[in-house]
C-alpha cells in the first residue's frame, strides 16, 4: 500500500514500506517553467532530512530539491536526466528523481497529506 505525502518545499514522496520515491509536485514544475537540466544524487549517498539532494534547472534558474527524510539513496531515475522535460509533462509520476531508504519513520510525521498540500499551495 503506497501513501503519498508532501513537503512544504514542494517535493512528493510515495512511501512503500521503508522506501520513499521522491519527485517534485506538478505545482512546483508549473512555477519553475521549462525544465532543461536535472542533477541527481549518487546511489548510496547518505542524505540528511532537508539537505540539498538534487538540482532542477529551468531556462532561467536553478532550484534545489531537498531530501524530505534522512536515509540512503537506493536508486535514481536516469530518464529525467536524459529528458528533463519529463518533469514538466509528468511531474507526479514518471519524473521521479530518486528512491531513498527511510532511516527514521517518525520524520514522516511533519509531512502533509494531499488535502493539506492543496491548502498549502492554494
Amino acid at each position: 500500500m503506497t501513501t503519498t505525502l508532501y513537503t512544504s518545499d514542494h517535493e512528493w514522496l510515495a512511501i512503500d514500506d521503508d522506501v520513499a520515491t521522491v519527485g517534485i509536485t506538478d505545482y512546483a514544475q508549473s512555477q519553475l517553467g521549462d525544465v532543461v537540466f536535472v542533477e541527481l544524487p549518487k546511489v548510496g549517498r547518505a542524505l540528511k532530512k532537508a539537505e540539498a539532494a538534487a538540482v532542477v534547472e529551468s531556462v532561467k534558474a536553478a532550484s534545489d530539491v531537498y531530501a524530505p527524510v534522512t536515509g540512503e539513496v537506493l536508486e535514481v531515475n536516469q530518464a529525467v536526466v536524459d529528458e528533463p522535460a519529463l518533469v514538466n509533462s509528468n511531474a507526479a509520476d514518471k519524473a521521479w528523481f530518486f528512491k531513498i531508504k527511510i532511516a527514521d519513520k517518525s520524520e514522516l510525521g511533519g509531512l502533509m497529506d494531499e488535502a493539506a498540500y492543496k491548502a498549502h499551495t492554494a
Partner: protein, 382 residues
C-alpha cells in the same frame, strides 16, 4: 497590499492590460511590471522567435529626442559625441548606431541606440538607467540641445524571420529597410518610428508608437498567425545566444568598451589618430585600452556538459586553483543550441578561442571552452 502605500509602486506600460489578457506572468523588472513569459513558456517562445516572429513589449525602455537649438543636426551630433565614444556626426539621416555613455573612469554608464531622424537625434536607452541618462544629457548638453523625453510613446519589437512579411502588411516600405535603417514611418496608418534592429540576433524591427495607439497596433500584429507574444525570459535567452551584452550584467560602470569586446562599436574617427579622437568621458583610459590592450576581456563560454552555468559563477584557470580569474556575467540554457551558454570576463591571456577555463558550480569545477560569439548566427538583413 495597496499600491498607494508603496514609495515606488511598479509602473505599467501601455500594453499592461494586453499582457494580462494574454496570460502573461507579470514580474517586477526595472521598476515596471513586465511579462516574463506567456502560457507557451520560455522554451517555445524562444524557438518561435527563431522560426517565425515574436512580439516583445519594450516600452519600459527610455525614448529621448535630442533637438539641436541651432536647428542643425550636426550640432546635436557633435554635442552627443562629448558623452559617447562613437562617431555620431557620421550617422546618415535614416540610420541608427549602437553607442555607450561612458564615465570619467572609462566605464559604461549605459548602452543605447542613436538614430539620425534628419532634424533631431532619437535615442533608445535602458529602462533601469533612463532617469540617470536624461539627467546626464540635461547636465551636459542643455546649452546645445533640447532634451525631450518621449514618455508618451510605447516601443514594440517584432523579431524573427517572418517579421518582415508581417510588418510589410502594415507598412509597405518595410522590405526596403536594411539593418539599422531608422526613421518615421506610417504603420497601419499610425505615426511610428521604425528601425530594422532588435536584440535577439534575428532580423526584426523596433516600432515606437504613440502610447494611445500601442494596444491597437500590438493586437493587429498578434492577429497574424505567425506572431506570438514573447516575454522577458525568452528575450534574455535570445540575446544571450546572440552574444549581446545586458547592461548591469555583462557591462557596467566598471567595464570599458574594450574590456567588453565592443571595439567594433567605436569608429576610427574617435580613436587615437582619428579626426575627432577622444573628447568623451574616460577617453584616456579607453583609448589606452585600444592602444595597449586591456588586461581582461569579455568572452563567450561553452560547456561540455548540460549543466547551465549561471551569472556570478567564479571562473578558475584549473581545477585546483584557489583564486578566481574572473566570473560569469550572463549564463543559462540556450534553447536553439539545446545546450548551456554563458559569457564572462577572463584575463586577456586566457581569452583565445578554445582555451579551457573552469566554472565553479555547486562545488564542482566544470570545464568551459572560450567560444566565438554570437553562439547562434545572426540573420540581420544588411
Amino acid at each position: 497590499m495597496l499600491a498607494r502605500d508603496d514609495q515606488n509602486p511598479p509602473r505599467r506600460t501601455p500594453l499592461y492590460a494586453l499582457h494580462i489578457s494574454l496570460g502573461g506572468k507579470m514580474v517586477p523588472f526595472a521598476g515596471y511590471e513586465m511579462p516574463v513569459q506567456y502560457p507557451a513558456g520560455v522554451l517555445k517562445e524562444h524557438l518561435h522567435t527563431r522560426a517565425s516572429a515574436g512580439l516583445f513589449d519594450v516600452s519600459h525602455m527610455g525614448q529621448i529626442a535630442l533637438r539641436p537649438k541651432s536647428g542643425r543636426i550636426e550640432d546635436a551630433a557633435k554635442a552627443l559625441e562629448r558623452l559617447v565614444p562613437q562617431d555620431i556626426v557620421a550617422i546618415p539621416q535614416g540610420r541608427q548606431r549602437y553607442a555607450q555613455f561612458t564615465n570619467s573612469d572609462g566605464g559604461i554608464l549605459d548602452d543605447l541606440m542613436v538614430a539620425n531622424f534628419g532634424d533631431h537625434l532619437f535615442l533608445v536607452v535602458n529602462a533601469a538607467c533612463k532617469a540617470e541618462d536624461e539627467a546626464h544629457l540635461r547636465a551636459h548638453l542643455s546649452d546645445d540641445c533640447i532634451i525631450d523625453s518621449l514618455g508618451d510613446r510605447a516601443l514594440i519589437a517584432l523579431q524573427g524571420p517572418k517579421a518582415e512579411a508581417v510588418l510589410a502588411k502594415l507598412c509597405p516600405e518595410t522590405p526596403s529597410l536594411k539593418f539599422m535603417d531608422a526613421g518615421p514611418r506610417k504603420v497601419d496608418g499610425l505615426d511610428c518610428f521604425v528601425s530594422r534592429s532588435g536584440y535577439t540576433g534575428e532580423d526584426g524591427f523596433e516600432i515606437s508608437v504613440p502610447a494611445a495607439d500601442a494596444e491597437r497596433l500590438a493586437k493587429t500584429l498578434l492577429a497574424d498567425s505567425d506572431v506570438l507574444p514573447i516575454g522577458l525570459g525568452a528575450r534574455d535567452s535570445l540575446r544571450l545566444e546572440a552574444g549581446l551584452c545586458l547592461y548591469g550584467h555583462d557591462i557596467d560602470t566598471a567595464t570599458t568598451p574594450v574590456e567588453a569586446a565592443l571595439e567594433w562599436s567605436v569608429q576610427k574617427s574617435r580613436r587615437t589618430g582619428g579626426a575627432r579622437a577622444g573628447g568623451f568621458p574616460g577617453a584616456d583610459k579607453i583609448l589606452g585600452h585600444f592602444d595597449r590592450g586591456a588586461a581582461r576581456r569579455r568572452v563567450g563560454l561553452k560547456a561540455e556538459g548540460r549543466a547551465p552555468v549561471r551569472e556570478g559563477a567564479a571562473l578558475f584557470a584549473d581545477t585546483t586553483a584557489s583564486e578566481p580569474i574572473g566570473k560569469v556575467t550572463s549564463g543559462g540554457f540556450g534553447p536553439s543550441l539545446n545546450a548551456p551558454v554563458a559569457m564572462g570576463y577572463v584575463p586577456a591571456a586566457l581569452s583565445a578561442l578554445g582555451t579551457i577555463v573552469y566554472a565553479e558550480v555547486r562545488g564542482q569545477r566544470l570545464p568551459l571552452a572560450i567560444a566565438a560569439m554570437p553562439f547562434v548566427k545572426n540573420t540581420y538583413k544588411r
